[in-house]
Amino acid sequence: MTNLILIVALPLLMAVLGFSAHKLPFFKQLIAFCAWYQIGIELFLFRALFTGKDSVHFVDGLVADRTGALFALLACFVVASALCHACVFFKNEGVDRHKSSRRNVGIFFGSSGLFLLAMTLLCICNNLGYLWICIEATTLVSAPLVFYSRDKHALEATWKYLIICSVGIAFALLGTIMIFASSQQQTEDGTLHLTELMARAGTLDYPLLRMGFILCFLGYGTKAGVFPIHSWLPDAHSEAPAPASAMLSGALLNCALLAIWRISQVVVAAGHPELALKLPLVFGTVTVAAASLFLVKQSGIKRLWAYSSIENVGLMLTAIGLGAAPLFFLQALNHSLAKVAAFLLAGNFVQACGSKKLSELKGLLILSPSWAILLALAAIAVTGAPPFGAFISELYMLTKSNEMDLCFVFVTLVVSLTIGFIAVCYHVSGCLWGKPAIASINANTSWLSILIPATLIFLALLLGVTPISKYIIEVF
């Protein structure tokens, strides 16, 4: 119980501060600081996992395992980075001048706290029912993040996000109930506990389990942005303010995929790996291929990153389909680091130039060399080119699919990743060079505005050039 109070205390404090204390001059910094401190608390709570223990018990139904702990830490890191950058971002937006915009920022930070809480609990769920509740909660508390700018486009994006995800997740609920029903066929008392489901996987009723898994896959897949049920994702990511896009892309998608992975583990344990692995594998490969084609013809910088996120979701699903949990985490880590940096930098440019359109973002190198170089590096890191970490995880994935004689997956991934790389490089380099459409940049390009993106890109580089990736794969 103490553990649970420790892990929820700071996110709740962040929410309270955001919703009630937005008149305080330094509440933003305070909340961002809380998010960093939360990483420390989580490290403290999860310390036993990294010294040999298999699980850390919170309460009944909330038990952290190693994968869950790593994803919880990653989510917390992403939220902390995004909120830290958000302090600078909203200051440049000039929100302190108006009372109403100060309230909106308060709601933004408060919802971020709740969002962090929901994602943290999601990662340590050991019960499919709680898992569903947490995922639906992430949708509800992140809707205010998407709605931040309060204009027509934000409204449309929020509505689509709410409705499409809620209906999708409703199907996951049906799937969860079917899995529960499948555990009741041979014994009287059913269970939703993952450990128990795994323990008696052999006695689960397969037709019901299969239906349940497929429904959960589609439901949580909607949330993760799997093609062809991704339609909410580009809208929400492009209309949300940059820190919110970063959190959605860098943390939320991982969490939805973690849910899929957990359920697929049950199906594998039940002795049906052909279903549990083939479904993510096929959908993952198709998602990568479709997203890379979408990347070719994009006109907005944030939509570009949104489709690149879909491509990475496809890669992570493929990793799940290859049955490689370490690869799944490694890809998620690399994607989160690079994509958060990319979204935050894109946000800087959009804020300074007043447009999201790629055709109006020109000559960024002249406007602000440091931002532009970082944006180029982020683009390279996101697409999985060396020397960044994503290259290593993608290479592992290709090797693994080759070893498993999955020719179709191998060829599709190579072709799609190449198309994606060319498309992103084409669009981003189009922004960097040329004559600036806007005469002068009207935002401050201080070191604070590049501190977080630069750090993230540096970390992505470290993952690529040091043996950390190998260590993660082996120790996991």
Binding site: G129, E156, A157, W159, K160, A170, A181, P207, E239
Partner: protein, 214 residues
């Protein structure tokens, strides 16, 4: 208080959804939704007495209070505030939608027979599948944000009916969590609908199509 009564409640709830498909009048839809939810609460109570499980009574009371009273009152309040009383619908005329919903009802009976592995009554299972499909149909054939919310609620009712009749002893805390999530979801969606009316001066969600890949 027999199993037959439970089946009757389930089928009556499914028929309520069919009537909803036949009417574009928002207040009437909300009324049918209320009726449907009360039937479900009643069915929960019957099941509670059949299996002598006390927690089912608790769930029945929670459903009656939250889903059959609070949500309809909230939706009616929105209808009054927005002064939008009927839904123009998309392409298909309401009687046709109603017939489609009846066909779906028949389909779900055979569909459930083909799955046929769960322990509960197959009549209730087909009623829940029919609720689910009719809810989807409602979401597809309606234009206003409010009808979308109502359609979502019907889907949720279908899922709840499935859980209640096909499984025993869903953990209470999970049920309550789901209920709370649905309640919060409807509140947030309702508030967004308000905003849509304020900035677009309509709540026709099919016209929300400005964001797309160019």
């Amino acid at each position: 208080m027999t199993a037959t009564m439970l089946d009757c409640c389930a089928i009556a709830a499914a028929l309520c959804a069919t009537f909803m498909a036949g009417s574009r009048h928002l207040k009437r839809n909300i009324l049918f939704y209320t009726l449907q939810t009360i039937l479900l609460a009643f069915a929960t109570a019957i099941r509670g007495s059949l299996q002598s499980e006390e927690q089912l009574y608790l769930i029945a009371i929670a459903i009656a209070l939250l889903k059959a009273i609070s949500i309809p009152l909230f939706l009616r309040w929105i209808v009054r505030k927005l002064c939008i009383y009927s839904d123009p619908g998309i392409m298909i005329a309401p009687p046709l939608v109603m017939h489609l919903s009846l066909i779906l009802f028949a389909c779900s009976y055979f569909e459930i027979a083909s799955i046929g592995h769960s322990k509960g009554s197959s009549m209730a299972a087909s009623a829940s599948a029919s609720l689910l499909l009719t809810g989807l149909l409602l979401m597809l054939t309606r234009r206003t944000a409010l009808s979308q919310i109502i359609g979502f609620l019907v889907i949720e009712n279908g899922i709840y009916l499935f859980a209640m009749t096909q499984t025993t002893g869903m953990p209470l805390i999970v049920e309550m969590g789901i209920l709370l999530d649905v309640l919060a979801g409807v509140m947030i969606a309702g508030l967004v609908a308000f905003r849509i009316q304020k900035s677009f001066e309509h709540i026709d969600v099919t016209q929300l199509a400005e964001l797309k890949d160019e």
